[in-house]
């Protein structure tokens, strides 16, 4: 199955700044997904990123706040812009694993905004 390298694993950021999270996959994948995980809650899908097209955002998430890049079939970035303490969360990327008909997740980025 695919292996994802997600960076950074954690960061503490100042209010009003931006953080870019990277996910590198060891194989080519069509779709990559970005999630937010808040304590004790289900993962919330932020957006789906296909290579070569604009990301598709879920209700409540906008491109200006969470711009996504997908320059090729193995890499994607999510930027959390103009951060506030409410953005403190774990952010995860995921890919659909065609080989095992499941999903592979990155290890997550633990973001704390102060």
């Amino acid at each position: 199955s695919a292996v994802i390298s997600q960076k950074p694993s954690r960061d503490i950021c100042q209010r009003g700044t931006s953080l870019t999270i990277q996910c590198q996959v060891d194989s080519q994948v069509t779709m990559m997904f970005w999630y937010r995980q808040q304590p004790g809650q289900s993962l919330t899908l932020i957006a789906t990123a296909n290579q070569g097209s604009e990301a598709t955002y879920e209700s409540g998430f906008v491109i200006d706040k969470f711009p996504i890049s997908r320059p090729n079939l193995t890499f994607s970035t999510l930027t959390v812009s103009n951060m506030s303490p409410e953005d403190s969360s774990i952010y995860l990327c995921s890919v659909e694993d065609d080989e095992n008909y499941g999903y592979t997740f990155g290890s997550g980025t633990r973001l704390t905004v102060v």
Binding site: S1, S9, R10, Y35, Q37, G40, Q41, S42, L43, T44, L45, E58, I90, L92, D97, N100, Y101, G102, Y103, T104, F105, G106, S107, G108, T109, R110
Partner: protein
């Protein structure tokens, strides 16, 4: 290397059957184990297990953790077609965040 293994990877049952899904892990700095159900979009949180031997229940679903043997099981009784999904096991580590298992794809036939 930290890893999470789930078995079986896929399972087909008929409505009314009882299923047991397995999750084992090899870790350092274990913090808790989480079960999710993924149907279409984002995985839905089911349980978080931190202590050994304490069963958590929600309707027809239940789960328990064995920290000595490093595994957890998720039981679903009287399965329904709506239980068809991928069930994900994830381990939360201190300092490393998550490691997800590959998931068990459950198909419940009418």
């Amino acid at each position: 290397e930290d890893k999470v293994v789930q078995s079986p990877l896929s399972l087909v049952v008929h409505e009314g059957d009882t299923v047991t899904l397995n999750c084992s892990y090899e870790v350092t700095n274990f913090r808790s184990l989480l079960w999710y159900k993924q149907e279409k979009k984002a995985p839905t949180f089911l349980f978080m297990l931190t202590s050994s031997g304490i069963e958590k229940k929600s309707g027809r679903l239940s789960s328990i953790l064995d920290k000595k043997e490093l595994f957890s099981i998720l039981n679903i009784t009287a399965t329904q077609t709506g239980d068809s999904a991928v069930y994900l096991c994830a381990v939360l580590f201190y300092g490393q965040n998550f490691v997800f298992g590959p998931g068990t794809r459950l198909s419940v036939l009418p």
